[in-house]
Amino acid sequence: MNEGILEFVNVGKEYSGHAVLKNINMSVRPGEIHALIGENGAGKSTLMNILFGMPVIHSTGGFTGEVRIGGKNAGILTPHDAMENGIGMVHQEFMLIPGFTITENIKLNREITKPTLMSKVFGKRLESLEKDNMARDARKALDVMGMDIEEYVQVEGLPVGHLQFVEIAREIDKTGIKFLVFDEPTAVLTESETENLLDAIRKLAKQGIGIIFISHRLEEIIRVSDRVTILRDGEWVATENTKDITAKEIARLMVGRALSLDRVEGNRQISDEILLDVKGLRVMMPGEEVKDVSLSVRKGEIVGIGGLAGQGKLGIANGLMGLYPVDGTVTYKGEPLDVTRTDTTLKKGIAFLSEDRKGVGLLLDSPIDLNIAFSGMEVKGDFFRRVGPFKLSDRGAIRKHAEDMVKELDIRCTSVAQYTGALSGGNQQKVCIARALTLDPDLLLVSEPTRGIDIGAKKLILDLLKSLAEEKGMTIVMTSSELAELRSICDRIIIICEGRVAGELSPNDSDEVYGLMMSGVSKEEAMRAGGETNG
């Protein structure tokens, strides 16, 4: 049975001193479906990048430990090595050429050729294609998965489900494929397509191909996999036979408590007044599409929005600010709000801290004081003074305001003239908060406030947000991938799954309930399953 087994032995990886993988041990047998699960940032992608010898690994100092195939160090240093070793990957984004037929896509760069007069003179690249043999191979690969689509059809215009199968067919057509990685293969499929795919995966496994199946849908994992390995914060948590474990146990192991951010109950003044009411919100944010979200926020609350990456939680705040095409009915302070108009939204007292601090949140090549004052200047016309017929910026006032903010928020910098690009993540975030505060908002939308910030600074940022709610009566909607931080300061947490509201949880609900809900299990079921263990 140990013949041809794929093993990760003590695999670890650091990015500039920050360990993202620690001592991972895991093995995949031929013919086995091995599920890999973990929250965002648990290390799944890094592990797969190591397996494929991706440049991102080796240009950042390589990894520790070994990847072994059949007991021998495979020495995979490039994607090409991985291919030689019979390791294939079905990509999440389809890498197909629309204008080519299915056959041509499947055989791309591995065409079957025969010599011609030209090729005898000028070399192999001028050999002609053996279309019949290519079509036969393609047919064979499609048949393995029970696809009854014609192999000569153009890829352009095929439904998403079919594209996925073409992608898989290309991998299994590669001779000597021994291991196949599926990265969230069902994320874009409909239910019946998912069914077909799972069937195909089982068929592949029966033929002796070892399969690594990455998914966040617990129910699929339970149904299709033989074993499951759970990662959390770059560490191996457990590997179990799937038949010996339940979805709720997986959920609990997956979520856990990453860092101890203890919840301190605050003394917030939450009124009954609905500050923001959102109905049927749809946002076309690529990768974070919001399909239909309705929620309401009361004055003085801190509402959390959680969920896994790509489920649409980030789209909500971005949509409310009108940064992506958006549609839906939004009422703010009892008046309808045109969310497509960013300027009026800002003027009405809604401020936004983007999840993309460097890309959206800051002018990196500009000093701190301008960054802090900017929104106030452009939205409210502050910090200008009249000089003759013109209104010119009042540099003194800008500097003074920034210095006050630096003191109030404890921003560590050499002076307010320092460029924000030179600050640490935590201090950059404080600059963003300072700019939002300059607008004196009633509602603050915060996305991933602690992303890329070290643990010590995380606590400071969260405390700051909490004090804004408690001392200034600000209402906060905080979107985060980190449940621990949502649970540490929010009054209630809305879980988003597949662009819709999966349900609302209290910060004190158990880890299992959170894990299950993020995987798309309904609230009732999640509570029932979670309740059993709690008591």
Partner: protein, 349 residues
């Protein structure tokens, strides 16, 4: 010592340092060859005054994120048209200057608006499209110079219809009217105080504009469009405003240039005028996305200094040949090429 030199070079940027060093070397060579340094300096100052505003026209375009204004001829043609219209009606002297300035602002605002719209339609390929817009507008105006029935005899050919290629401003009492204003002689160097004051006033006005709300909005839109969008700004509108400003500056700049030169150059005269201006601002330490008034002034002095000083030196070394003009072309385009390769990284600032 080595550290502080490195720091200094980093601060001003390698292109600026290299061209500055070359300029110093050429001035030393000129002195060694027995050339009159005061005459050289006089020439340099003269040309700085003539070209300064054209280089300044780069600033709003770069700040708005459209990159250096390679379509400078668009504004130049607007300015020329303003002058020609005023000359047709026999304006002369200061009246000609004032009237063409006003008219240039009108013409260039319209052209700049259209050009700004074009730039918004071709985001991501601004520099290439701008270069060819510049070429295209020159061809278009070539037709206008011939087709519009201007009848003032001082501007026409001896025979036939259409405008002459170069029109003497002497006949309109406007040759060097600003350049000779308040000129001061110090130790043999003529300092054209008038034209330098005009240049500084323009710099001041542009600087003040970028301290207004609109100015900051343009700056933010160029520095980080997504940031500007999240602040509720209309980036496209701001880019149009910046390009109007740039085009107007080009139009006014060519009036200043023409009076200093003494001639109005039509037809293909403006064809390649964008490149020296772009090169100057880049030599001054600007990049395709970052620029300051200091970059404009330093760049104009260095670039024009180099152009002016290199010529007589080359002339003397290669006497009796045509090499000096070839040298000028090599030096000018070499500097442009070098500056363009540094589009992405100027000084630290």
């Amino acid at each position: 010592m080595v550290e502080s030199v490195k720091k200094f070079i980093n601060k001003i940027g390698i292109p600026t340092f290299a061209v500055g060093a070359l300029l110093v070397a050429i001035l030393i060579a000129a002195a060694a060859l027995g050339q009159s340094i005061p005459t050289l300096l006089t020439d340099i100052l003269k040309r700085v005054g003539m070209n300064g505003v054209l280089v300044l026209a780069m600033l709003p375009a770069i700040k708005s994120g459209t990159g250096p204004n390679f379509a400078l001829p668009v504004g130049i043609e607007g300015g020329l048209m303003a002058m020609i219209v005023c000359m047709q009606f026999d304006f002369s002297g200061w009246a000609l200057m004032a009237a063409s300035a006003v008219l240039a602002i009108v013409f260039c605002s319209i052209l700049g608006f259209l050009y700004g719209k074009l730039m918004n339609a071709v985001k991501g390929a601004e520099m290439t499209i701008a270069t060819y817009s510049g070429f295209a507008i020159v061809a278009f105006f070539n037709i206008l110079w011939l087709a519009i029935p201007f009848s003032n005899r001082k501007m026409g050919w001896m025979l036939g219809s259409g405008l002459r290629e170069t029109i003497q401003l002497k006949n309109y009492q406007a040759s060097r009217i600003i350049s000779d204003l308040l000129a001061v002689d110090i130790a043999g160097v003529t300092i054209p105080v008038g034209v330098i004051l005009v240049l500084l006033v323009f710099c001041g006005v542009v600087n003040l504009f970028f301290r207004t709300k609109t100015g900051y909005a343009i700056y933010a839109g160029g520095g980080n469009p997504r940031f500007a969008e999240a602040s509720g700004l209309n980036i496209d509108r701001n880019r149009v405003i910046a390009n109007i400003l740039s085009t107007v500056l080009a139009g006014l700049g060519i009036i200043l240039y023409a009076q200093g030169y003494g001639y109005v150059q039509l037809y293909n005269g403006p064809l390649n005028m964008a490149f020296p201006a772009v090169a100057a601002v880049l030599v001054g330490g600007a990049t395709a996305s970052k620029v300051s008034i200091a970059n404009v002034l330093i760049g104009t002095c260095l670039f024009q200094g180099l152009m002016t000083a290199a010529m007589p030196v080359a002339n003397q070394i290669f006497t009796g040949t045509d090499l000096s003009d070839i040298m000028r072309i090599i030096v000018q385009n070499g500097v442009i090429l070098y500056a363009l390769t540094k589009v992405k990284n100027g000084g630290d600032r």
